[in-house]
Symmetry: C2
Subunit: 144 residues, 2 copies
Amino acid sequence: MMLPNVPGLDHVAIAVKDLEKAIAFYQDTYGLALAEIEEVKEQQVRTAIFGHGMGRIELICPTASDTGVARFLEKRGEGLHHICIEVDDIHASLARLKAQGAMLIDETPKMGAGGAQIAFVHPKGSHGVLTELRQGPSKIQASP
Amino acid sequence: MMLPNVPGLDHVAIAVKDLEKAIAFYQDTYGLALAEIEEVKEQQVRTAIFGHGMGRIELICPTASDTGVARFLEKRGEGLHHICIEVDDIHASLARLKAQGAMLIDETPKMGAGGAQIAFVHPKGSHGVLTELRQGPSKIQASP
């Protein structure tokens, strides 16, 4: 059974160069529990997720050199990459951003993991933070 | 009553130039609920916290120009500033970091908000991420 999410931080993503090395660091040094490792082929990244539910930590590592995450690492090195915010109504949030003239990466939501709708907002549209908006499937199904 | 925290993401902090403007953005555009606004005098910042428990979003805004957050904003603009990880044993985590030769900002824990012990790890010691380690008071009291 999937619990409905409240609006808030779904996860924070950290770009890393060597996924296995970073996983070992977060496990051994900080004592975090690894929940899953996954390859997201559409985004050409491998991810490692620590924790369950809201507020997870996600390590992301590119599997190809011509991707956004690979360019981020080349330019800035390892570090905080984006946050993902669970929202109640992703269409309403995108409409509000458009009304503000915010720079969007995705004008309309696309399908993300687990049947969620997701859309990325450019840092210039969201106080310097690359932001993934997410509306979980429970909320989508609950819509009229 | 304070619930004991599990190891994981306590909060992610975003440096902003205008706290009120950023609060309005996160409230109005993403529908997040503001939990509290606080002035942390020791760190010369004002903070706004969204959410409760683990995985909160914290906006931080400097109240003086000669602080780390003010320099971050001047150099890089608004954006993701640090993460705070709740750990089981902050002394053990710091000892492991030292053994790795990691660069620490705080060699020993200091007192943080709500009676927690906190210590900052330099991005160079933690995969490019300025990291605040936190051991909540419930865990400190539970130690032998």
